[in-house]
Symmetry: C2
Subunit: 200 residues, 2 copies
DNA sequence: ACCCTAAGTAATCAACTGATAACATGTCAA
DNA sequence: TTGACATGTTATCAGTTGATTACTTAGGGT
């Protein structure tokens, strides 16, 4: 048997590979946060070597910032879509329901919400903190763009934070254990949101 | 010069030392969260050796759980104090203002709020997640004990979560940089809360 | 005086972490 | 064809981390 030339290992374009690593990193950071996630598990879940991950993004922090930005971009984009889709009347409950529904739909991408949450929690890191505050400010300004009073915008964002926290503490998987959790899950997500969150 | 007997190093009672370590750990976990805090920095800030910290609590996780429990106990106690102090009418705005003020006063112990926040964020850890959900449920039930509707309790808790997030992202130290941050800080804390948070 | 428990430390360890350097190999343009 | 660049890997490293073991010594009771 002649020495067989092993099949050439297929390669990816840099962009595709970068996206793949970003996906893996999003999942990992969503689960275990910034400090709790190693570049090694990101690499393993992306199917590449650990040094490659580091070299692609420079540092672990830069990787997280990229993941954070991509996640929050999706979230902001979802809000913008609702707000631009048709005129928004901040005194009309139906319009707020549409905005809330955009939130609920984000549960399909629960990792994005969790990454955002963990970015907020990692605010002790100077670079992450700055980006977190900037993100929060942009979202708030987006809501205020409807012309609603500050209290209404704050209340909406506050419910969003509750949703993030409930997700982070794995509440959807434990709604059955406590009426309180069930209540808050229902309130934060809307009733139709529960099934989506539980399925995820 | 005769060999001098070095002054005997004074010792502490186990309880006092434990309290000291818990204090240090509270500060450290408040800053950098569960995964981001090493038992070594806790030990240094408590003025004891690292192995001693570990042996006192068993594991780092157990230490965090102790810190988390102590923090959330203080928070629940603050709410209970307000609710038992005088009859609470959930249709009276003044009563809700009293409850909100209890929150604001907790800013003096901002570390407790941050520890709670980081406990919520570390929900991926099974033990921490369970305790986080339990804590959240208890607080919610406490509020519901006023007889208020679920939406009202959820809204109150949601504002608390916003406050936690704002603290975690160091918003109080940066209110000047963004009107949005200033708005949310004011809304979440109440106007008198800002100075307390900024001073901390 | 003595000893025994409780309060601590120093020494050490294996595993993990983020990062660097050196090397290997597809792939495309000229 | 060939060479240069882009896509990757293996090897390695110094620092950190949580935890264990063995040792030290203060201080109260008898």
């Amino acid at each position: 048997m002649v020495t067989q030339k092993s099949a050439p290992i297929p390669r990816m374009s840099a962009d595709a590979r970068r996206a793949q690593v970003l996906d893996a990193a999003t999942g990992a950071f969503a689960r275990t946060g910034y400090a709790g996630t190693s570049t090694d598990v990101v690499a393993r879940e992306a199917g590449v070597s650990q040094p490659y991950v580091v070299r692609m993004f420079g540092t672990k922090r830069d990787l997280f910032l990229a993941v954070f930005e991509r996640s929050t971009d999706k979230i902001k984009q979802a809000f913008r879509a609702v707000l631009e889709e048709q005129p928004f009347d901040h005194e009309d409950d139906a319009d707020w329901a549409r905005l809330g529904a955009a939130y609920t739909e984000l549960l399909a991408d629960r990792d994005f919400l969790l990454v955002m949450m963990h970015g907020f929690a990692a605010g002790d890191d100077v670079a992450i903190g700055a980006q977190a505050r900037s993100c929060m400010g942009e979202i708030y300004d987006l809501i205020r763009g409807t012309g609603c009073p500050a209290e209404q915008a704050t209340g909406f964002v506050a419910h969003g934070m509750l949703l993030n926290v409930m997700l982070a503490m794995r509440a959807p998987e434990h709604v059955g254990e406590s009426g309180a959790l069930a209540d808050m899950t229902a309130c934060a997500f809307g009733d139709e949101g529960i099934s989506a969150a539980t399925a995820g």
